[in-house]
Amino acid sequence: MNHRPFEDWLLEDQHLTSDQERELQAHLRTCTTCSAIAESNLALHSARMISPTAGFVSRFEVRLIEHRNATRIRQIIGTTILVLAGLALVYWFASPFIQEVMRSPADWITNVVGDFLFILTSVQAFSEVSRVFTHLLSDFISPIGWLVILFLVSGLGVVEVLSIWQFTRTPQGV
């Protein structure tokens, strides 16, 4: 028998019959390559596990505590930086208003109250006008007229959407 099957038997860790084992033994006496494979196989199979030195678990516990402390410190530093950056940003945006308030607080409060009242009365007036307007229009325009208006507005919407779609579909700047 040639060299090949013996090498495959050894490299693939095949279980051998007693006849195959005898043939292999005979081959090993003459073939240095297969003999080296058999020896290295044997060394691999007889290799032992190596254990860590005593106290591995205690050392791990210490390392875990150190890791947790480091993580906690990192979190505290990160949160502090975030809060400080947020405060700085708020101050940067609010500083003109703050300066104004500090200059004359009474004027500022008067202005704010005035603005608030203006917005409130504007909203009230607008709602009153729209209520009157819709009441009047409902008397002038029939239900069919409303349908036509609605149809036209929807059509315009569809045309706009289509034109935007067409515009974005065409490659630009080519």
């Binding site: 095949q14 292999l24 090993l28 591995f56 050392r59 791990f60 875990l64």
Partner: protein
């Protein structure tokens, strides 16, 4: 598995039990991959730390040992990659650190010395293999992992693992042949010559 579930629910005591149970497995893989005791200790500690941090990701359908070994193998492969590109050659230091002294209290010191030399020789040869091939060999022969477990742990296909194991063993045999003289290993009783 009870410890794993308890550890996943935040029990530090259960995780400590897991470290106790698997320390030798993880340390041995790191030692075989990195070749010196100091790096192996550090890598094993880091493996358990990573396992602790990502315990919520562990799928209980997989064997816990394989999951741990997978973390250890990937960590060691990364470390070897970094070491390869580092400016300082650590080979001399590694060789010095990796010497295993024979057990003076052993019943047969001569035999123990022979085995120790043989193990040392194997360790030296292992260091010459490709990182991934080395991980596959260590998982196969020291940890009795199946080819599919190795494939899962190293994120390879089963056929890739087979071919890596085949190639690595051929290379190991070639090195074994070149590096002689070395002590002849003793065959276990009733063991196939293929082993």
């Amino acid at each position: 598995m009870v410890w794993v579930v308890q550890a996943q629910h935040g029990s530090d005591e259960a995780f400590t039990k897991l470290v106790e149970a698997y320390q030798t497995h993880v340390y041995n893989l790191c030692y075989r991959m990195l070749g010196d005791a100091e790096s192996a200790e550090d890598a094993a500690q880091e493996t358990f730390l990573r396992a602790y941090q990502h315990l919520h990701r562990y799928d209980q359908k997989r064997p816990f040992a394989t999951w741990l070994l997978s973390i250890a193998a990937h960590y060691c492969i990364d470390r070897l990659r970094r070491r390869k590109f580092s400016m300082v050659s650590m080979d001399a230091e590694e060789d010095e650190n990796s010497l295993e002294l024979p057990d003076a209290d052993a019943p047969n010191p001569e035999s123990e010395m022979m085995h120790s030399e043989q193990r040392e020789h194997l360790q030296v040869l292992l260091k010459r293999l490709d990182r991934m091939d080395r991980a596959a060999i260590v998982m196969r022969y020291w940890h009795d992992c199946s080819e599919s477990e190795i494939a899962e742990a190293l994120q390879l296909t089963v056929s890739a693992v087979k071919s890596r194991l085949h190639r690595a063993r051929r290379e190991l045999a070639g090195l074994w042949q070149e590096e002689g003289p070395h002590p002849k290993p003793e065959r276990r009783p009733h063991e196939s010559p293929a082993f």
